[in-house]
């Protein structure tokens, strides 16, 4: 356990802070891209594109700004478990929603 703790500390020190400003500009470009896509494709058919771009942005923030890329497995599991619950809830409600669209 001591070894694991040491490893986690070393890992934390080793990440040397990712290029935060570069990531910020990538986030801005992706935001601008989602606005352009929504304007070009139209509101009705834009969701797959804009929500994919949102997910990429969310991943960049979670991995680099929230440091999940460098975090210990305990913290990573605390971030992933609620996401799994969230996805299960989505799939549980999906059939009802799809049925109501058909109607």
């Amino acid at each position: 356990m001591e070894l694991e703790k040491e490893k986690s500390l070393k890992k934390e020190e080793a990440h040397h802070h990712p290029p935060y400003v570069t990531i910020y500009f990538i986030l801005l470009i992706l935001t601008f891209a989602s606005i352009i896509v929504a304007q070009l494709v139209g509101r009705e058919s834009s969701p797959p594109f804009v929500f994919t771009l949102s997910t990429i942005k969310a991943l960049l923030i979670a991995l680099f700004y929230m440091h999940l890329k460098y975090e210990n497995r305990w913290i990573i599991s605390l971030a992933i478990i609620p996401l799994i619950i969230f996805v299960i809830i989505l799939f549980v409600f999906m059939p009802d929603i799809l049925n109501s669209i058909k109607m």
Binding site: M1, Y20, T31, S46, A58, I61, L78, P82, F93
Partner: protein, 195 residues
């Protein structure tokens, strides 16, 4: 005396079983709850969008220019929050205060812009009781706005706390909350303003 010793040992062993600081671990437990609550609310909006054909007709009346500016404000706040944490690890506390101050400024700017946006919409007759879209819109963006305000107050609280004690994790946890609120906005923004 014996009881105290045993208790100390138990606490020590518990700490050793989780190679993460308690402050950070506890804060992530809090964030996990927030992910399920806010995530669930936003997901209900996304699912409802699929089944409500009048969604596009209503979402055309939301102001995507104002909300794009607010997206920029939140992302800038995320950058300044993470830079505050970076300088905290270097023990450059003046810069930490500066970047936390900038993050708080972003928070107040976001809330101020939101108020302007709401007043424009209400002036045009788009109120929560108009239809289900506007109920979702005011409910979700309002709840998110309250979270931004809470994040801003947490950051101000940390700035005051840092004058007494220099704790890196306080800066990190305040930043984590800000980033989480930012991620939620990344889904709210396309839901109401782009789709």
């Amino acid at each position: 005396m014996e009881e105290t010793k045993v208790l100390d040992r138990v606490e020590y062993e518990e700490y050793e079983s989780i190679p993460v600081s308690f402050r950070k671990f506890g804060f992530w437990i809090f964030l996990s709850g927030e992910i399920v609550i806010l995530g669930g609310i936003v997901a209900s909006g996304i699912l409802f969008r699929l089944s409500y054909p009048e969604w596009f007709a209503n979402s055309e009346h939301t102001n995507f220019i104002i909300s794009s500016i607010n997206t920029l404000v939140l992302l800038t706040g995320s950058l300044t929050a993470v830079l505050a944490h970076k300088y905290a690890t270097f023990h450059d506390w003046n810069k930490v205060q500066l970047f936390l101050g900038l993050t708080a400024l972003c928070g107040f700017t976001f809330v101020g812009i939101k108020f302007i946006e709401y007043s424009i919409e209400i002036h045009h007759g788009f109120i929560p009781t108009r239809n289900v879209f506007w109920m979702f819109y005011f409910g979700i963006t309002g709840l998110h706005g309250l979270h931004v305000l809470a994040g801003t107050l947490i950051i101000i609280g940390v700035m005051i706390y840092l004058r007494k004690k220099k704790v890196i994790e306080a800066v990190e946890n305040a930043g984590l909350y800000w980033h989480f609120v930012d991620i939620v906005w990344l889904y709210i923004f396309p839901l109401f303003y782009l789709t």
